[in-house]
């Protein structure tokens, strides 16, 4: 395909690319949210899921630990970007 540079709408073209990513992520989030809703409805219709049970769900102590570890790993990977530090010794 013949490739042409995309139009730029912000003073700094970096913002165009970042906002593009935000819109793509938002779209993907919406598709996933929708999927979840459909999943819930389908399971509930089959009597396999009680929606109130989802909202009132209380993890047992073991699950609590697993969830906390998962949350920490997720947020650490996300927030690391704000540190401005290298992950491996490299050129500066």
């Amino acid at each position: 395909m013949d490739e042409r540079p995309e139009q730029v709408f912000f003073e700094d073209g970096a913002l165009d690319r970042a906002v593009g990513m935000i819109m793509t992520l938002a779209a993907e989030l919406y598709v996933t949210r929708d999927r979840l809703t459909v999943l819930e409805r389908t399971l509930a219709a089959k009597g396999l899921l009680d929606l109130a049970e989802l909202d009132d769900y209380q993890p047992d102590p073991e699950s609590l630990e697993t969830d906390a570890a998962d949350r920490d790993a997720f947020t650490a990977a996300l927030m690391q970007n704000f540190s401005g530090k290298q992950s491996a010794k490299g050129l500066t």
Binding site: Q7, F9, V19, V31, D34, R35, V38
Partner: protein, 344 residues
């Protein structure tokens, strides 16, 4: 219509929500904040209005996402390619569709992927299927398109009662079919340069068992029909896809094709003289890959028709949906117009 799956529906619905915000909230906000913007200010990257920068960005990229991207219309048809191609290539009754291998699309058309549809309306065997889906999926608020042609035909009816209609740039038949309903006694012919669109048009006409319709591959500028073959030569959203030279050739061809007393009637876009309206409209052309939108607006279409021999020329605002022209409607809209000329 074939379902492309829940992910596709959810994604397009997300885009529709964004687009509704863009046309119903961001556009009025921009008009209030920066109503003095004018065509010279189109380059958003040099604008001092952040609202305009996002307005412009979203206008381009929501449309890009509609066609391309993970759940875009084009890629989501790929898994069903064979099925669609077989459907398009089914045998049809004689005279419903006639193709012409010598009719190549003009360079001005293949140079740009119109509406950001990858490959444009000619570039792929599924282009008609994709274009049809695109015309349905994303218009905020109203089910714009199906009602649009009925409203246009009502304007036509106020002008004439045609028996032999030629629809130039008929696409996948969305403008052509409604003529068969509103003018059931007329013979209706649609021409287009896009084979994938014409096939879609012919196959759907056959499925719906429409008798008074025929499709033919031809350029609008130079058609194979003998002089005085029609009493109405019309187009819908064609002129703004052509450079002025091609528009002049098309007007001349329409004159040749019409019998005396026949009409040429076109539905298209012309922004009025308000600088902000032009700024919005020319910017739309730039951002939506429609390079001839602005030249059409800047040429004198009335004089062009007059030079071809047409009389009683009228260019009138067109209300594409109920209350679209009401002052209470502050949403973005196309500057629709109907252009009429009569062959003496």
């Amino acid at each position: 219509m074939k379902q492309l799956g829940r992910r596709f529906d959810a994604y397009q619905s997300f885009l529709l929500g964004c687009k509704s915000y863009w046309s119903g909230s961001l556009y009025p906000q921009l008009k209030i904040e920066s109503g003095d913007l004018k065509p010279e200010d189109i380059d958003a990257s040099k604008s001092s209005s952040v609202t305009y920068q996002y307005y412009a960005f979203l206008e381009r990229h929501l449309q890009r996402m509609k066609y391309s991207g993970r759940y875009g219309i084009a890629p989501m048809h790929e898994p069903f390619r064979d099925e669609f191609e077989e459907w398009l290539d089914q045998p049809l009754p004689k005279n419903l569709l006639s193709l012409d291998a010598d009719c190549t699309p003009p360079a001005y058309f293949t140079e740009i992927d119109i509406h950001q549809h990858p490959g444009g309306t000619c570039g792929d065997t599924l282009a008609g299927v994709i274009y049809d889906r695109g015309s349905r999926s994303m218009w905020p608020g109203r089910s714009k398109d199906r009602g649009l042609h009925g409203r246009f035909n009502a304007v036509v009816k106020e002008t004439c009662e045609p028996h032999n209609i030629l629809d130039l740039g008929c696409g996948f038949g969305k403008s052509t079919q409604p003529f068969t309903i509103d003018f059931p006694k007329a013979q209706v012919t649609g021409i287009d340069i896009s084979v994938p669109c014409l096939k879609f048009a012919a196959v759907t006409a056959n499925e719906e068992n429409i008798q008074n319709i025929g499709y033919r591959q031809s350029r609008a500028e130079e058609t194979p029909f003998p002089p005085t073959s029609f009493d109405l030569v019309t187009s819908t959203m064609l002129l703004h896809e052509m450079p002025p030279k091609a528009i002049r050739a098309t007007a001349k061809e329409a004159f040749r094709l019409l019998e005396a007393g026949g009409y040429t009637i076109h539905l298209d876009y012309l922004a009025d003289d308000d600088p902000f309206n032009r700024f919005i409209h020319y910017g739309h052309g730039q951002r939506n890959n429609e390079p001839y939108m602005r030249p059409l607006n800047e040429m004198d279409l009335g004089s062009t028709l007059r030079e071809c021999g047409f009389e009683d020329i009228k260019i009138m605002p067109f209300e594409e949906a109920p209350n679209a022209l009401s002052p209470a409607n502050d949403s973005w809209r196309f500057p629709w117009v109907v252009v009429v000329g009569r062959k003496p």
